[in-house]
């Protein structure tokens, strides 16, 4: 079977299990863009009687509350039932845009274990655009089929279960196998083995078995563990490169059935085959399987709102301001009986202009400091360590000002976003300390990456500021060729784009002697230029603060 078809087969299995016991399994993430394929997939779940919720759903809709308009009409309190009042299947569209507050509420509902089932549709395009981790963590399945749907793809529903999943007996050894397996794949959270156990039970129930068998465990491990794995089994935590698969172990497992853990090993092999490829490439740092960027850090929360709401004020509607309906009704409500006496014949609510309340917001966008650090060989020779020290000092200041920080490094032919915008300084420092040096100087590529980040975060409501630390010896052009002139031209072009976007920039020259070219580049940025002649890190911080305040 091809990998694509295989992923579809797994998706079918997930759906089949989910259909059998939606409330028990609590849900799944479906990571697919909107497409006919996805519609077909969702159609299969139709029997669950799904209710759609969107990322900006209000508490009243979720938990129920007073239906204001109905109440006003009937002069009797009419309560709305919330979606969560009864066990139901919810489909969250655009779940990757779901804020941390909604995620927390939904996560709590999943934790309560009262039979809700949550299907999160993750439509993220970028790898780091995913569901809030608090939610992803609690949903057992991650359905992300690849390629086109095979023609003969279908899901055979298991029908009504004759065995309730909770009644399936699991031996202590079963629980142990799953726990050990999760530990081998570096899955820290203990929710993973618990969910795997539930999946195994449902799988057994669909096959009308009352106790778990080896296949149930295998299926559960295959469906629950691969997307959570942070490392390959047997690999040392600090060893990012996985050791070559050891042929002897698997042979042993086949030939010698009495070896200590033959079952576990076979499971390991099966799950290993499904691990995401970037894990093998060492892209996920060992030991930290957690997603770094995305929501976290509160930056999206801030960006999503247009400032913090202030108490509403009485005022006149003039077309530009927005009415705060609730506050207006609150203001009008106590007066209704009195006004009614004066105007007994007017139907409906009696609202006077003096009741009108207007919404007010105070807008304040957070600052994001993007550090683009040159980690090329030439920079490493000169002052990379000094630059690291300087960045650390700047971070301490950023902490005091509660700025967000992002870190980009460029060397060789590529630029890497080492740290997406975050407020977590510990993370920043860790990444910075492990920043290796060496290779060419792809200045333009680094700037390109910084620009992408800056525009992206600006749309989220942050104010980006770029700080470039380089020695200016750009020698890799945007297209990756080794051409010093072209490289410098590309860098200058990028600088002009930054200026067009009016992004505040500071260029720090960390070469041994100030470079005229770099000063010109700073001019193109319309930014500040700061040569760093044998200065200490303290002086550098002083300079940056002065720039930022100016």
């Amino acid at each position: 079977m091809t990998p694509d078809a295989d992923s579809w087969a797994r998706a079918a299995l997930c759906l089949r299990l989910l259909l059998s016991a939606p409330g028990y399994l609590a849900g799944a993430t479906i990571r697919m863009r909107a497409s006919p394929d996805r519609d077909r997939l969702l159609n299969i779940l139709q029997p669950l009687n799904m209710r759609r919720i969107h990322p900006s759903i209000s508490d009243e809709q979720l938990f129920g509350g007073v239906d204001l308009s109905a109440t006003l009409n009937s002069i009797q309190v009419i309560e709305n039932k919330g979606i969560l009042s009864d066990p139901s299947t919810m489909v969250v569209g655009m779940a990757e845009r779901c804020g941390s507050d909604l995620a927390a509420k939904l996560a709590h509902q999943v934790d309560r274990d009262v039979g809700h089932c949550l299907i999160a549709l993750d439509e993220g395009a970028e790898p780091d655009e995913t569901l809030p981790p608090a939610l992803a963590e609690r949903l057992p399945f991650h359905i992300a089929p690849e390629g086109r749907m095979p023609k003969d793809w279908r899901v055979v529903p298991a029908g009504t279960l004759s065995v309730t999943p909770a009644a399936v007996t699991a031996s202590a050894a079963d629980a142990e196998t799953l726990t050990l397996l999760a530990a081998q794949f570096g899955i820290d959270s203990l929710r993973a083995p618990l969910m795997a156990l539930r999946v195994a039970r449902v799988h057994a129930a669909t096959h009308k078995r009352t106790c778990l068998e080896q296949t149930d465990l295998e299926v559960a491990a295959l469906l629950v563990f691969p997307h959570r794995a942070t490392r390959l089994p047997q690999a040392e935590p600090e060893n990012q490169v996985p050791p070559p698969p050891n042929p002897e172990t698997s042979q042993e497992a086949e030939s010698d059935a009495s070896s200590p853990m033959p079952e576990g090993d076979m499971l390991v092999e099966a799950v290993r085959a499904l691990l995401p490829p970037d894990l093998l490439a060492g892209l996920v740092p060992a030991g930290t399987g957690r997603r770094m960027g995305g929501d976290g850090a509160g930056q999206k929360r801030k960006g999503n709102r247009r400032g913090r709401p202030l108490p509403s004020r009485p005022g006149r509607l003039d077309g530009r301001s927005r009415i705060d309906l609730i506050a207006t009704l609150r203001a009008a409500a106590p007066w209704q009986p009195i006004r009614r006496k004066a105007q007994p014949d007017t139907p409906g609510l009696l609202i006077r202009p003096s009741d009108i309340r207007l919404k007010r917001y105070v807008e304040q966008s957070d600052r994001l400091l993007i550090f683009a650090v040159d980690a090329s060989g030439s920079a490493a020779v000169s002052r990379l360590n000094e630059a690291k020290g300087a960045v650390e000092l700047l971070l301490a200041q950023a902490y005091a000002a509660r700025d967000h920080v992002a870190l980009i490094s460029f060397r060789g032919t590529t630029a890497d976003l080492l740290l997406p915008p975050t407020r977590s300084l510990v993370q920043t420092k860790r990444r910075l300390a492990s920043l290796p040096g060496g290779g060419g100087t792809p200045l333009a590529t680094g700037l390109q990456q910084a620009l992408a980040l800056a525009t992206q975060t600006r749309s989220k409501g942050l104010t980006p500021t770029l700080i470039v630390l380089t020695d200016g010896r750009a020698n890799i052009a945007l297209d990756g060729s080794r051409n010093r002139t072209q490289a410098m031209e590309d860098a200058e072009q990028m600088a002009r784009v930054f200026r067009a976007h009016s992004i505040q920039t500071l260029v720090i020259d960390m070469s041994a002697r100030p470079q005229a070219g770099l000063k010109a580049l700073a001019g193109q940025f319309d930014g500040q230029y700061l040569p760093l002649p044998r200065a200490d890190a303290q002086a550098l911080t002083g300079a940056v603060s002065a720039t930022l305040q100016g």
Partner: protein, 334 residues
């Protein structure tokens, strides 16, 4: 399945459990902050805490759980003034709760239907004399944090809005949990928590397996599991009650006070709240252990949780301040 997982069935995480029990012994310690990785049982522990807490006596119809009818706020329309025993309130403050929900607002239902101006108490009223639990506390909106700080400081909730002018007592123990990777907590809020503990996923395989087994039998063999651990929980509750009685009688020798001060000076913690909390927590621990006198061992046991979040923070220190406290404790107490 709405019964929370029993507290006594939580495997490991001794520091977290100790901190929670101690706030139950002496609510004056002022709350617990639990920071740690996902899936380590933070929320489970907090929700389990409710079952451990002894019931309180309160006026039946009082919205703020007043202990005497004289203490009930004037705005509350009291029905029955009978004193009843009710479980200690543990109120969830969800992220994204509006200011109205938290502090209370005009009761719009009554205003619309009966045309009366009445106050609808918020979460702070319900949490009075109990616990206020904030999950993902580090993601809480800044303006709600400001509000909580203010109320936690004064022990009183003052509402001045929509023509209402209302005040009521709001003394509660703050319990927060969060994942430090998602953002830091403001130092002011950090300081409001009496104790802070860091939890990690257990590294020991046997311990992990035990967690899974217990959780699994909680789900599948509910009745038997609850019968066993419910009794264990009851034992802890009894010990807490006894400790509460013993607490005022715990003797505090002079040298221990000096130790407290020396420890805080050596650590350079801001203000005196560190010393006070350290002392209170140590006394609570002594009471819980059934001792009559405070000793250095008690200080040693509670120092990390009482002090680690009060140090002047080095934002780049990744080892965490817990180790710093332990080192200093060893130096000062020998």
């Amino acid at each position: 399945m709405n019964t929370p997982f029993p507290f006594s069935a939580i495997v490991g995480q001794e520091a977290m459990k100790q901190a929670m029990v101690l706030t139950a012994v002496d609510p004056g310690i002022g709350g617990v902050l639990v920071f740690g990785d996902r899936g380590t049982g933070k929320s489970t522990a907090v929700r389990a805490l409710a079952a451990l807490l002894p019931p309180i006596r309160a006026v039946e119809s009082c919205p703020v759980n007043s202990a005497k009818s004289a203490e009930c706020p004037a705005w509350a329309e009291l029905g029955s003034k009978k004193l009843v025993s009710r479980p200690t309130p543990v109120i969830d403050l969800p992220l994204g709760a509006t200011e109205d929900r938290v502090v209370g607002a005009l009761d719009i239902e009554r205003a619309l239907t009966r045309g009366e101006k009445a106050f609808e108490p918020g979460l702070l009223a319900r949490a009075n004399r109990g616990y206020l639990y904030i999950d993902e506390v580090n993601l809480l909106e800044d303006h709600i944090v400001d509000l909580l700080l203010d109320v936690a400081q004064s022990g009183e909730n003052v509402v001045e809005r929509e023509g209402l002018s209302i005040r009521h007592a709001a003394r509660f123990v703050l319990v927060g949990s969060g994942n430090p990777e998602e953002g830091e907590l403001r130092p002011q809020l950090l300081d409001r928590f009496g104790l802070s503990v860091e939890v990690r996923s257990p590294n020991d395989v046997a311990e992990r397996v035990e967690v899974i087994k217990r959780r699994d039998s909680f789900e599948t063999d509910h009745a038997a599991f609850m019968a066993h651990y419910g009794a264990e929980d009851a034992k802890i509750r009894d010990t807490i009650l006894k400790a509460r009685k013993r607490l005022p009688k715990i003797a505090t020798p002079e040298p221990i006070l000096e130790d407290c001060a020396a420890l805080c000076i050596a650590l350079g913690s801001d203000g005196l709240r560190g010393e006070l909390t350290l002392l209170r927590t140590a006394r609570a621990l002594a009471a819980y252990q059934g001792k009559r006198k405070l000793s250095r061992d008690h200080l040693r046991a509670v120092a990390p949780s009482a002090l680690s979040h009060r140090l002047r923070r080095d934002p780049l220190d990744e080892a965490g301040s817990g180790t710093r406290v332990l080192r200093t404790v060893d130096e000062v107490l020998g």
